[in-house]
Symmetry: C2
Subunit: 348 residues, 2 copies
């Protein structure tokens, strides 16, 4: 029996976990039910604090997420966790190793864990993960953590989903990883050096501190992108704790996640960042910028489906063949295919 989207949405709002799980599957598989339920549920979302957790492989992100979840639970807060797994477009296979580390969280009804596969496109990650977070949000979870592995694009995607983005580092990563940090700093609201009991941890902290203190241009440009102008006094940065100026300087926190060390302080900083946003971005410019990226992704996919509905059978395949035969360049094929889209009406 197929349950109605309206029924599932109603059950979700009543706290039914099974309805949440069903709708998460519907979102992940882009079923029509998902869109229908979202029309009811979207107005109930917008209350949770959405936290992104990212960083290079091997930094202990999942262990940290578990530790954060346990600490939030001690504060009486409910926690939704979305673990985004890099997958391949061929098999859809996900990385499940880390999920095993989260097993100890199960059995607590105040915690809901969901693994999601990214299914190829970043547009997919953005739209699907955001909608999954909205379902958990509407279901009443206080905190929603979205965790992803990756270097480069994935981190950027998570910063486009989360209100507060944690970038997790650890001692002993390679020098190329250090270089990637230059990009990571642009998306980090909070920098975490996990495995801080290991040799070299202080080097990692120092390297990050140096990067933040020298006022990496990324922080400037990020601020400008979000808020329009940069307070002169904020650069160069000499205090990496919360500054008096309305520029958020990413604090650097040390944790030993598997012993829950430093996790209370980390929670304090996450709360501080939330408060910072509420004070300094009351109009929600950050969220609006994120929604714009999402809406563009959705429009691209919808437009593509719309064009394909108009293309005569075989037209697309013929275009591929012509490109393959080097008869026409790809952008010429695009122009040909676009002719099948109904043109704008020209006003007389």
């Amino acid at each position: 029996m197929i349950e109605s989207a309206t029924g599932l949405a109603r059950d979700l709002l009543r706290g039914n976990r099974r309805a949440l799980a069903r709708l998460l599957s519907a979102v992940e598989n882009a079923m029509p039910q998902a869109a229908e339920a979202m029309e009811t549920l979207y107005s109930h979302a917008g209350r949770a604090h959405i936290i992104g957790i990212t960083g290079a492989p091997g930094t202990g992100k999942s262990t940290l997420v578990s530790a954060l979840a346990r600490t939030y639970r001690k504060q009486g807060k409910t926690v939704g966790i979305i673990a985004v797994d890099p997958t391949s477009p061929f098999t859809g296979g996900a990385i499940l190793g880390d999920r095993i580390r989260m097993r100890d969280l199960s059995g607590d009804s105040g915690i809901f864990i969901r693994s999601m596969a990214t299914r190829g496109s970043l547009g997919g990650l953005a739209a699907t993960t955001r909608d999954a977070a909205r379902l958990m949000d509407a279901a009443g979870f206080d905190v929603i953590m979205i965790e992803t592995v990756g270097a480069g694009q994935n981190e950027v995607a998570i910063a486009q989903l989360a209100q507060t983005t944690l970038v997790v580092d650890a001692p002993g990563m390679g020098d190329e990883v250090q270089a990637i940090k230059a990009g990571i700093l642009e998306i980090a609201d909070i920098l975490v050096v996990n495995k801080a009991d290991r040799a070299g941890a202080q080097n990692t902290v120092r390297a990050l501190r140096l990067m933040v203190e020298t006022g990496h241009p990324a922080i400037k440009s990020r601020w400008i992108a979000h808020h329009g102008e940069l307070p002169e006094s904020a650069i160069p940065v000499t205090d990496i704790s919360l500054s008096d100026s309305p520029l958020w300087i990413p604090p650097i926190l040390e944790t030993v996640a598997h012993e829950s060390k430093g996790v209370d302080d980390l929670l304090d900083q996450i709360a501080a960042h939330k408060a910072f946003l509420e004070t300094n971005d009351p109009q929600g410019n950050l969220e609006r910028a994120q929604l714009e990226i999402e809406l563009l992704d959705r429009l691209r996919e919808t437009l593509l489906q719309h064009l394909f509905a108009q293309l005569p059978a075989g037209t697309f395949e013929a275009a591929i063949q012509q490109i393959h035969d080097h008869d026409i360049a790809p952008h010429e094929a695009v122009q040909e295919l676009m002719k099948h889209l109904q043109p704008k009406l020209i006003e007389a």
Copy 2:
């Protein structure tokens, strides 16, 4: 003075490196010149062997690319190198550390190196990098190597660009990296264990061998995706060298790139893979599948531009505000905006 696209295209075909550099910049910056020149040049492309090189940070990819380039030069082949850098959408800053290691290649006119930034979207990476490779291809380079850093999406993107994809590993990477390999195996035509003189190299080789020998489902699905059916005899795999069956089993090569050790063998395997494709995919199904992904990406962007040309001023911004205020869900906003696209003509 702005040089004409036709003039630059003509100069490029004559071997003028400055014209190549100019057109690469035009491609990277999506200038109209690029499309115009491509109309002339595209029919001259299609001769080079395009090799993708990817792998986790710290595996020594750039050093390996340098070693490969030097060895190809000894064989009298010309080499184009495209180093794709993960960047942020905020500053466009690229990772330049590794590029420094390629400096020793400069001064040889048979080698042309270009760093490119991915500029946010994977669609961008696919279209821009492919066009860059086409320019080098039309300019007559025998081998074009595209190198990228990353975990997850980036690797998939590179496999969609290259004819032969090398996945580079090294001893001593974390266990999460091991997990990622399960995905990497799906895109690897050749597995390289670089830094093979280091402790633990044999463990890395064994881990990869085990993964390949147990006939990872990825290899099956990959074969099926590309070729339609799987020869029964190919699974389980017991010989990781070139099999008699028409299933390409990724060989595992050991290299010490900075001493050029193992690089000759690697070149042999790259040539073997090229020969394999020519024998087993004479219709170019692999390339057609890649072109399809590219054409879809290009269509998405062109359609979006087309819709925006039709939207009344402020419509998009108003939609963002409505989503932000939780008045309408994102997919409802999409439906509203789509109404501004001219509908299909209904035949009477």
